[in-house]
């Protein structure tokens, strides 16, 4: 594990800070509220949310930065993972819903459904939800990738198809008949694994789980990119036809990486949902996927830790500006992206690297 970070200063910093946060955050939270070092619980949930978004950004960086596929639909995998977790959380509500129906989630009672649709069965089991969190985005990415890569769709066309995919899913999930709560989505969660989602301990636990997921996801991506397979991935990015003439099955390499990345995005989504308390079809909206690409671009492509940095930086700015200057937030984001593209083509981490060289 240590060897994975051998040549990776940014990674060492990242993992070090995450481990530190895992230890420090619960301690600082337990300090009396009057203390200046006290971290309120809502900040912890916010931080945990950032970490899940950072994991999504890492997944996108693997596909865009290393494999060279500009994916504009990765939020779809994130949202699918989120929905799988949301379904589990819905089933945990039991008869504590507004309608008090022990068998059906509220929105189904509202729609006058008599029984649970077949695909909701088993979601009261945590293990099944966990499997689905990874399996559903994985299978979608596999089928999508199999068709797209085999017919050698690439570049802008592939990006547009990924947008179409997430857009189509959004429209589908808006429909009540789909059985995922329509435009309200899934919400009003009560507890996870028997722990109340409202309690501070659970929130801290989710934060720690997110930090661990980010560490593991980062190390897995790092394991791929530092292996010979990772160099083959870069080779595919830089010279697809040459890789073919060398005997590499470009489609298979793309498919493996794309699918793995989608699974990672699904896990991120599953950790995101209990911390924000809702999942609805808006998470599929194309703009979300584009935003992730912006995070990665701001942080710096093909570094992995740059993606984490970009995601946390921009989301923090977003939280800050939407409170302080709600009217100009979008302009600030747009301006930031323009500035980074013009001045920092390699993102913030590119700036740090240049400093290091000098």
């Amino acid at each position: 594990m240590i060897r994975l970070l051998d040549q990776d200063r940014g990674g060492k910093w990242l993992i070090g800070s995450l481990l530190l946060a895992i230890v420090l955050v619960p301690i600082l939270n337990s300090l009396p509220e009057s203390s200046s070092l006290h971290i309120p619980t809502y900040s912890i949930s916010l931080l945990g949310k950032y970490l899940t978004l950072a994991l999504l950004a890492v997944a996108v960086d693997l596909v865009w930065g290393y494999l060279g596929i500009l994916t504009l639909g990765h939020a779809a995998f994130f949202a699918l993972g989120g929905y799988a977790m949301g379904m589990y959380l819905m089933r945990q509500i039991g008869d504590r819903g507004v309608y008090g129906n022990p068998d059906l989630p509220d929105f189904m009672v509202f729609l006058n459904w008599q029984e649970l649709p077949w695909f909701w069965h088993g979601f009261d089991q945590f293990w099944l939800a966990v499997i689905m969190v990874m399996l559903v985005p994985g299978i979608l990415a596999f089928v999508f990738g199999f068709l797209a890569f085999r017919s050698r769709v690439s570049g802008v066309y592939l990006s547009i198809i990924t947008q179409a995919m997430t857009f189509a899913l959004m429209l589908a999930f808006y429909r009540n008949e789909m059985g995922f709560g329509g435009n309200n989505g899934l919400t009003d969660f009560k507890d996870i694994l028997g722990f109340s989602l409202q309690s501070d301990q659970t929130k801290i636990g989710l934060f720690i789980a997110s930090a661990i997921a980010l560490i593991l996801g980062y190390l897995l991506c790092r394991a791929i990119t530092t292996s010979r397979a990772g160099r083959a991935v870069v080779a595919v990015r830089d010279g697809e036809s040459r890789a073919r003439f060398m005997g590499y099955r470009v489609e298979n390499i793309k498919l493996w990486v794309f699918t793995f990345s989608a699974v990672l995005a699904g896990v991120a989504g599953a950790l995101y949902v209990p911390q924000v308390g809702i999942i609805n079809p808006n998470e599929f909206s194309p703009i979300n996927s584009i935003e992730v690409v912006v995070w990665v671009a701001v942080g710096g492509r093909a570094t992995l830790y740059g993606a984490v940095l970009g995601a946390i930086l921009i989301n923090y700015a977003k939280s800050y500006f939407t409170v302080e200057l709600p009217d100009i937030w979008l302009f600030a984001l747009g301006g930031l992206f323009v500035l980074v593209t013009l001045l920092l083509p390699r993102g913030v981490t590119g700036l740090l690297k240049r400093k290091e060289v000098e």
């Binding site: 010979r228 397979a229 083959a232 036809s241 003439f245 060398m246 590499y248």
Partner: protein
Amino acid sequence: MEIDFENEAKNYPERGQVFDFLTPEQNPALNVDKSVLLYIESLSVSFDGFKAINDLNLYIRDGELRCIIGPNGAGKTTMMDIITGKTKPDSGLAYFGQTINLLEMDEPAIAQAGIGRKFQKPTVFENLSVWENLELAMAQSRDFLSLLRAKMSVEQMMEMSEILALIGLEEQIDKPAGALSHGQKQWLEIGALLMQKPRLLLVDEPVAGMTHQEMDKTAELLRSLAGRHSVVVVEHDMEFVRNLSEGGKTVSVLHQGSVLAEGTMAQIQDDERVKQVYLGE
């Protein structure tokens, strides 16, 4: 400078053993009983009505060094595209040995069967180092999961070092390939080609943009490869072809998608039709 390569080779009888890591890996399906490695028969392909390849027949013997010359648009690159699976012909046959039908295979399958290709423009992976470029080219399982676990063995390490010495890039192993000079990139690509241990090497304009010194080195290398590998060289530079085909090696002249003449360089130069379309001498 004229070097008598035949005599040079006799002076170093052990030379074959020194480079035995270059011995191509025998593909079990490959059958060269008739000592012909590549069959191309009545091959035709047209793009938008233009006949890029027109009833082309070409046989490459096992272990042969063959030069192919021809004016622009003669179909040299298209021929390579067909052999390596990039382009599918309208009609005709292309067999690797007696049994392997190239027209039924895609690029990676053909490469794995033992046909390596060097492009006209040096195409190396610019963001990867020299070492990593060779590592990827190395004859090995191309499966993603085995690549994920792959570790460099001692034999592979030695193989890499020997190739590095051969192409003269030992000092640059950690340099990104994009930072190499033009000639060095060409050499790196040739080195990468050798790492694949192909039975047949297709080399498209290997000396484009090289200095005279580098050209001589390249010619020497290509000649030393023939025998163990079959080498097909497509080239514009007549001086280089003359140098390469010394000792009665066969030269084929391509014109308008088919073979116009075939023979030694001397025979080719005397051929009236060749003079007309190409040499203009």
